[in-house]
């Protein structure tokens, strides 16, 4: 099989692979719609990297496939005798080097914005999440913003509300979450918020986001949250935590306004008090 077919074969497989990703945005095989303030930064950087990598993917694969097609061996022929090319080496070291350095530096500000504690905005809503095998306990204070959030996060309070797997906030609120785990590693993953943070045994890790859209209205008469079914924003666990890892599913409820959130909070408080106060296993007091 000393012929050009192999180049064509490689080319077709690579082309089909490429097309299967390229059609993604039109068939729902793509990033879920973003709803957080820092999401556009993440997505922009994703597209920057996607642009550069697509360019180099096409460049190198086209050259390879073309060479495979063009330079099929002929008996008795000899290849070009070239040991290397200093200027070419310089070119393909310096140009990708510059691009990679640009890509690296371009990330820094978004990374600082998302994760650096010192750069996190002042919270409008403080809550604390404790992960365990296999659910999330969402803890809300009776007021959206306790006077000392960090201290509040560490010491359980009898007025607090505990809800499994339901994260409530309102559109435009700077939400600060103090993330803990009581057993193994877990990772809080909200795909639409472009947010992910591992929960680390023995540590309390601050996380923040600000949702730019809402999906929930509280109905005072029924006492239920009415959620837009087309905007179901799920919470998933992204760090292996045992057999039930896959079913640590939670939901994000973004209320339209702060008032709507407060109405829901009041209702949830009353509901919690009217229930027989069950002994909740207190999350392990974590000390740094």
């Amino acid at each position: 099989m000393q012929h050009k077919g192999w180049g064509i074969f490689f080319g077709v497989v690579l082309l089909v692979s490429f097309l299967s990703i390229a059609v993604g945005p039109w068939v729902g095989w793509w990033l879920p719609a973003n709803v957080s303030t820092f999401g556009p930064d993440v997505d922009y950087l994703y597209y920057v990297i996607l642009g550069f990598t697509t360019f180099f993917f096409i460049l190198t694969e086209v050259l390879l496939v073309w060479a495979m097609y063009r330079f099929v061996g002929r008996p008795g022929a000899k290849s070009q005798y070239i040991e290397g090319h200093h200027r070419l080496e310089m070119l393909w070291t310096i140009v990708p080097g510059g691009i990679l350095l640009y890509i690296a530096i371009a990330q820094i500000s978004a990374w600082e914005k998302i994760k650096y504690q010192a750069k996190m905005p002042d919270p409008d809503l403080v809550m604390q999440i404790t992960a365990r095998q296999w659910d999330w306990t969402m803890r809300y204070a009776d007021t959206p913003k306790p006077t000392d959030p960090r201290a509040w996060a560490e010491i359980p309070n009898s007025d607090d509300i505990y809800l499994p797997d339901e994260l409530h906030c309102w559109k435009g609120a700077n939400v600060r979450i103090y993330l803990k785990t009581q057993d193994v590693l877990h990772s809080l993953f909200l795909p639409q918020l472009r947010l992910k943070q591992d929960a680390l045994p023995g540590k309390t890790i601050p996380v923040w986001f600000n949702a730019t859209d809402f999906n929930t209205r509280f109905n005072a008469s029924t006492g239920a949250c009415e959620t837009d079914k087309s905007k179901e924003w799920e919470i998933a666990c992204a760090e292996l935590c045992g057999g039930g890892h896959y079913r640590m599913r939670g939901l994000l409820y973004v209320h339209e306004t702060k008032d709507d959130y407060l109405n829901w909070l009041k209702h949830a408080q009353q509901a919690a008090r009217s229930r027989q106060p069950e002994k909740k296993t207190t999350p392990v007091a974590a000390k740094d």
Partner: protein, 600 residues
């Protein structure tokens, strides 16, 4: 070819040994390499079977109605079994297949032959390095049958899932997972043996390459395979002690209730509390990745070296940019030590540290890019011969481009916030380790098979095997990028619980079906391998008309390798030299008239 010697000389260095000494407790590097090859291939079957179980669950999470399917609970495996399957799949493929095949099988077989040595510097140590794998084989295989089953904490075995243990006196059960008791202890012990084996190999490779090169074989006349093995051995010897320490620490946590990875506040499992600890869970991640990130390069650099030699041979062309290629491998190995933190961007490690690790990680793409361009430079203007070995080597290049580029997404910290622990990383690691390393290994087998066994593998079936493997492996692994972009987390037993993944579930089924086809076509390889072993065409000394020294020894070479020690006169890539009569000029060939002596 002028290298012709009297036939009687072939047995010159060959001492008559008993079967046991010759084939079982052999000190001959070639036999030890072949032993590593066979055990690696057997574990490849085991690891592959586990992969199929994983794919079966991910593709058909509600179960498949196959009454004959043996491991099923109402057509469905349990979540714990699934976790065990993917954990052991990765563990076996990494520590029992790819590392032993690349360094153990090919490192052992090629190094002395390619540098013109009679054997390794320490033949007994070499034998021990193989036999230290056997306790590991026994322990890892028996772990499937211990109480609770084999380890199920991922191949990374992060505490506390892996390390949490009941108090002393209550056996080795774990409150975190049934698999984290005896199975996890087996996992730790098995890896310790693998580590000792690798360390013995590394020391031997370094010593051999430094001391036993044939006359004229300067460092910069060594083939890329030898360079890659040399740098890999250095990498391994520097990284392994750290893994060993980590394994012992976790073993102590599990057996005598130390608390290296348990935080001061302890942990609570249901209503049961471990009591206070005194350690840090992140400590494991630092120690583990300090080894395991370099290990990623241990699993690719030797393949890069082998592929460079195969491509140059069948392109019938001088390797483009030999010294930049060597420097690139050294660059990858050097930078490889300061990038481990990129596995921990979302771990809760100080994000300022993440910034530093990110810059180092993104820059490591540069030497990889340099290598790719040099391979392209090698095939440009070539006179390509499409042997099966060459096709596998070219597939390595085509697929490594994808695996290399997809890594940049996870290296970029903000983008990694989204992509971390999704299927995108699963796609990335399989493009590097399956699509690159395994194609490199296949290429190496087709290429050196005639030297190992004196017979050629069947080319026609080799090409059919290659074409189908290339096709189905892309069908199996490429869509993982797509479901990763959609946010599909890895290691999920049942992703149909999540609405945001509804769109991509059909892709999961497609990948599963492709994976079964991919496994099926490997039968072609197995049949070809064993058929050729006994019935393949006789290879002769140099069937590929290759330049490197191993092809001046008989096929298979006798104990002691060379009839007379070769004298190296030039670099390994003199293909297509216009001054030479043929399109190749072996390293040990005496100077033909008209060819000026090389300057270096």
């Amino acid at each position: 070819m002028s290298v012709s010697h009297s036939h009687s000389a072939e047995t010159h260095a060959h001492h008559e040994l008993s079967f046991l000494r010759k084939y079982i407790f052999s000190e001959d590097h070639k036999i030890i390499g072949i032993q590593f090859l066979f055990s690696g291939l057997i574990f490849f079957l085991i690891g592959g079977t586990l992969a199929l179980l994983v794919r079966l669950q991910v593709g058909f999470p509600k179960g498949v109605n196959l009454p004959w399917f043996p491991i099923s609970w109402g057509g469905r495996m349990s979540p714990d079994f699934y976790a065990m399957a993917f954990s052991m799949h990765a563990t076996i493929m990494i520590f029992f297949v790819i590392i032993p095949l690349l360094t153990g099988a090919f490192g052992n077989f090629t190094i002395p032959l390619m540098i013109g040595a009679k054997d390794m510097a320490f033949p007994k140590l070499n034998m021990m390095s193989y036999w230290f794998m056997w306790p590991a084989f026994a322990v890892i295989l028996s772990s499937f049958f211990v109480e609770g089953g084999a380890g199920a904490s991922g191949w990374t075995s992060y505490p506390l899932l892996a390390s949490a243990t009941m108090p002393a006196g209550e056996g080795f059960h774990s409150p975190a997972s049934p698999h984290s008791g005896y199975g996890q202890i087996c996992w730790l012990v098995a890896l310790l043996f693998v580590g000792v084996s690798s360390m013995m190999g590394s020391i031997n490779y370094m010593t051999t390459i430094i001391n036993l090169r044939a006359p004229g074989m300067t460092m910069f006349r060594m083939p890329m395979t030898v360079w890659a093995m040399f740098i890999t051995a250095i990498l391994q010897s520097m990284a392994l002690p750290v893994l060993t320490v980590a394994l012992i620490l976790q073993l102590l946590d599990k057996t005598i209730n130390t608390t290296f990875f348990l935080p001061p506040g302890g942990a609570a499992f249901g209503n049961w509390h471990t009591g206070p600890g005194g350690g840090q869970t992140l400590l494991w991640q630092h120690l583990f990745w300090f080894y395991s990130h370099p290990a990623v390069y241990i699993m690719i650099l030797p393949a890069m070296g082998m592929v460079s030699d195969i491509i140059s041979t069948f392109a019938r062309k001088h390797l483009f940019g030999y010294k930049p290629m060597v420097l690139a491998i050294a660059g990858i190995a050097g930078l490889g030590f300061i990038v481990w933190g990129h596995h921990m961007f979302q771990s809760g490690m100080d994000p300022r540290l993440g910034t530093g690790f990110m810059i180092a990680t993104i820059m490591i793409a540069l030497p990889s890019a340099v290598k790719t361009f040099n391979w392209l430079g090698t095939v440009w203007g070539a006179n390509i011969q499409y042997t099966t070995a060459m096709l596998n080597a070219l597939a390595f290049v085509a697929m490594f481009v994808i695996g290399g580029l997809s890594g940049i997404f996870m290296a970029a910290t903000p983008v990694d916030v989204y992509f971390h622990d999704t299927y995108f990383i699963v796609a990335h690691i399989h493009y590097v380790l399956f699509m690159s390393s395994i194609f490199g290994i296949f290429g190496g087998i087709y290429y050196w098979f005639p030297k190992m066994f004196g017979r050629l593998m069947n080319e026609k079936w080799g090409k059919i095997h290659f074409a189908l493997t290339f096709l189905f492996s892309n069908c199996t692994f490429f869509p993982m990028h797509i479901i990763g972009i959609a946010g599909h987390p890895r290691r999920y037993y049942d992703s149909t619980l999540y609405r945001f993944l509804d769109n991509v579930q059909p892709l999961n089924q497609f990948m599963t079906i492709s994976a079964f086809l991919l496994a099926l076509v490997q039968i072609i390889f197995l049949v070809n391998f064993f058929w050729s072993l006994f019935r393949g065409a006789k290879a002769g000394m140099n069937p590929w008309r290759s330049n490197t020294l191993e092809w001046t020894a008989p096929s298979p070479p006798p104990h002691g390798n060379f009839i007379q020690t070769p004298i190296v006169r030039r670099g390994p890539y003199e293909y297509g030299n216009p001054e030479a009569e043929e399109d190749y000029l072996p390293q040990a060939e005496p100077q033909p008239s008209g060819v000026p002596a090389p300057a270096h």
